[in-house]
Every structure is written in structure tokens, then in C-alpha cells.
Symmetry: C3
Subunit: 193 residues, 3 copies
């Protein structure tokens, strides 16, 4: 699978995971349907839009590529349609948030490298892509951002981005290095819950 | 009237409406003059600056074109000079917010199309231009964003942007289609109060 | 000293001052090490990243130039290593915030002019660079932004940016005009405490 294709799949999967996390958080606040869609889409695409602005990818993919909006809408429908099942998951916001964190840390770093930026930009924007959605969700819902709670949140995203960027810039990249980076990020985040 | 001229007029009128909404909200919080100017300008130009960054209009018009700053300053002077009259309006923040919402949904969508972006970008950025100012106002004033309250806020902006972009991309645009789009947006928003 | 070199030194000094202000605020909230680093870096580089996006300096210096991240990390280490001494300073967050405000108002305005933008863009982005970090810090820490409190905060930054841009665009720039601009900004801010 070529890099660009892998990046797109990871990015859409992260979009789906963060959109579910956003939709659940919005539903718990008793927002109406449009409020839920707005939060889900902002959480899912906000981090990536910030990344795209910083790397000069204009217009940002989250706005220009209909797949992102569709994926966010499907995630909202799934969340609302199967709300009792989703709720039965232990802490569904945190679960999907952890998965989105790992996917976006890797896909965000990959996209910055694809656009020719240096390793530092890729690591910082991988982390930003990953934590941005959650920060936007928490700021919009006027609650203490998860990034500030005593949990390894930013550091898990950073670890994922460092592994991915390190493997690529040092020439150690293999078929499984993105998966290792994601697994470390999701694992660190999930173990800390 | 050509498109560019219409866009500029709508955008400045939206700037004026949002600046009044911001100035009233800031005055109600007993901010001093500079705090009121900062909030009024952020509310009036924040959504448009985000739109301009996303469509590659660098530097953003809200920063580079002195008319926006002047309009915001005049709105602050009007608000402070005629504060008792403005207050007598029923829910002045919400009234001017609704008008700004409709103007910016249409002008934001128009500008994205003028810059050659696709219909999805235009719809999403029209909505962003419209709701961005209010979100910034509420986040800065640390109160629950109006976008999250059980009112058709984002959906009214979306409706305005969809009508404007639909009319243009389907070739149905007429002299009155922007006015229809604005009326639908402002009407939906105002009826929901 | 040429302009570019002076700009870099002022910008790094502002980064250091804001990073200390962010680290102290984060430490007072009992955040863990990574949370402190995230807040310190966001406060130190957030305003400059917004400025760089608005002037088309892609990727933003705060992301691409390792010196900014290093300066922020050193500021965190200094803050944590000498926390009792830093605390003994009267209102250390406000002190370093005032210094960062003056440095960034001038360096932000200079960078916008270096990129060929007009005086209004330079004044507004100098002010944005200066107040942006504090707004980000306060929004992330879910407290009332300092910009809204009854203090001349935005106006001090504005005064600094106006003096710097005025001296340059009117051809009155001298070796000491940036220092005058900074002194006025820091003085106004500090006297208002």
C-alpha cells in the first residue's frame, strides 16, 4: 500500500473515532441534532484543519474532501442509532478518543512529511492533529480540557508521532512501523485511564 | 451590482452587526473600552479571518482592509453612545447576532466560490464565517457557546450557505438569490428565539 | 544589528517570558510535567503561530525552528527547578506576561512588515502576537481571559505595536525605537497591575 493511500485510510479512521467521541459528548450534554453534528465534525476535523493550515495544504482536506464530512455524519448516525450499545462501552468518549489520538498522531505526522516539512514540524503537527480535536471539543463544551488532566494524553500522542517520524527520517520505516506508533500511542493513553 | 461589490457590502454589514452584538455582550460584562473594542473586533472579524486562512486569502481582509476595523470601531461607538436605546431592543445581542449570521453565511460562501473552491468548501466556510464570531465571543466571555444551546443556530447558517451556493453552482443565481438565502437564515434564527 | 537578527532575539526572549508565565500558571493548577510543557509551549508560540498563518509564513517559525521549542523547554526546566525563587517574585505570571507582551508586540509587528504587509496588518498582528499567548493560556485553563479584566492589557500591546510600526513606516526608526516601544508596552501593563 503506498504512503498516500495509507495516510488517507488512517486519517478517515481517526475522523470516525473522534466524531463518535464528539457525538457522545454532545449527546450527553443534551444538544439537539445539529449541535451534535457541529461538535462531532469540529472534533473530527478541527485538529486536521489546523495541521493543514500550518503545512500550507489549502483548502484543508477536512473542508474540501467530502469523505471527511460523510464519515463524521455516519459516525453521528451510528452513535445516535446505537446509543444504548455505545453507552454500554466503558467510557465510550475516552475509548474512541484514545483510538483517534493514535490514528491522528501518525496520519498528521505523515502528512506533514509528505508536504516536505522537517521532522520537528511533523512531530509537533502529528501531536497537534491528535490532541486538537479533543481540545476543541472540551473548549466548546466549556469543560476542563482532557489535555490538562493528570493523564498521559499529550505525551501519548507525542510518542506516536516521534516513533512514526523517527522511523521515516532514520530510514527504518517498514510496513509495520505506523502500526507500532499507533499501538504505542493508544496503549499509553488507554493504560493511563 | 457585480459580485465582488455585493460581497464587500454584505461582509461589512455583517461586520457591523456582529460588532454591535459583541460590544453589547462585552458592555454587559462591564469590560472597559479597550476590552469592548477587542471583543467587538474579534466577534466581527474572527469568523472571516478563519475563512480567509482556509481559502488562502493572505493576509485576511479583516486585518488588511481598514474598512473592517473602522466599521467595528463605529459599531462600538454607536453601541456605547446609544446604549440605552440599544438595550431597549428586545435581546439586542441575539437580534444583531441573527442579522450578522445571515449576512456572513452568504458573504462567506460567496468569497470561497470567488477564490475558486468547490461547493462543499463554500458551504462549510459560509457556515464557519457565520458561526465563528459568536463562538469566539462566547469562548472569550467563558460562557456556554450559543451554538450549543437548543436553538437552530448552526442549521440556520447552514441553510443560508446552502441556498446561496446551490443557486450559484446550479446556475440559478439571480439578483435576489443572496437576499433569499439571507432571509431564510435570519428568519430561521429569529423564529427560534 | 540588522533587523532580522533583532527580530529573532526579541521573539525568542518573548517566547522565554511567555513560557515561564505559562509554566507557572500550569504548575499552580497542579498539572503533570507534560501538561506543563504543553501549556508553556502553547502560550509561548500560540500567538506567533497565528501571526505566521496570517502573513503566509508557512510553516510557522514556532513549529519549524527548533529554537522556539528549546527555549520553551528551558523555561519549563527553569520554572520547575527554581520554583520557590520564581514564586517569591511578586505575581510571577503577571510579571513575565508583561515582559512577553512588550517583546511580542514589537517582534510581531516587525515580522509582518518584513513580509511586506501594510501598517494596519503589522499593528493588528503585533497586538495579536502579544495577547494571543495569554488568551490561549486562559482559555485552556478555563479561566476568565486576562484580556477581559479591567486592566490595560490589549491597549498596552497596541501602544507598543503602534510605536514600532509608526517609527518604521514614517521613517523615524532608530536603534532605540524598538526599545521605546517595548518599554511603553511593558510600562503601561506593569503600572496597571
Amino acid at each position: 500500500m503506498n504512503d498516500h493511500r495509507l495516510f488517507t485510510i488512517l486519517d478517515l479512521a481517526g475522523t470516525f473515532a473522534f466524531a463518535i467521541s464528539g457525538a457522545v459528548a454532545a449527546k450527553q450534554r443534551n444538544l439537539d441534532l445539529f449541535g451534535i453534528v457541529v461538535i462531532a465534525y469540529s472534533v473530527a476535523c478541527g485538529g486536521g484543519i489546523v495541521r493543514d493550515l500550518c503545512i500550507g495544504a489549502i483548502p484543508p482536506a477536512g473542508l474540501a474532501n467530502w469523505r471527511y464530512l460523510m464519515v463524521a455524519l455516519v459516525a453521528v448516525l451510528v452513535t445516535l442509532g446505537a446509543y444504548s450499545q455505545v453507552q454500554r462501552l466503558n467510557q465510550p468518549v475516552l475509548l474512541f478518543d484514545a483510538v483517534g489520538l493514535g490514528l491522528f498522531a501518525v496520519s498528521g505526522a505523515q502528512k506533514a512529511l509528505l508536504y516536505g516539512h522537517n521532522a520537528e514540524v511533523a512531530i509537533l503537527l502529528g501531536t497537534t492533529t491528535a490532541v486538537g480535536g479533543g481540545v476543541i471539543r472540551d473548549v466548546l463544551l466549556t469543560r476542563v480540557p482532557v489535555i490538562l488532566q493528570r493523564e498521559i494524553y499529550a505525551s501519548a500522542a507525542l510518542a506516536g508521532a516521534v516513533i512514526e517520524v523517527g522511523a521515516r527520517t532514520l530510514g527504518w520505516a517498514t510496513d509495520w512501523s505506523p502500526w507500532l506508533a499507533m499501538a504505542v500511542c493508544i496503549g499509553l493513553r488507554y493504560l493511563s485511564l
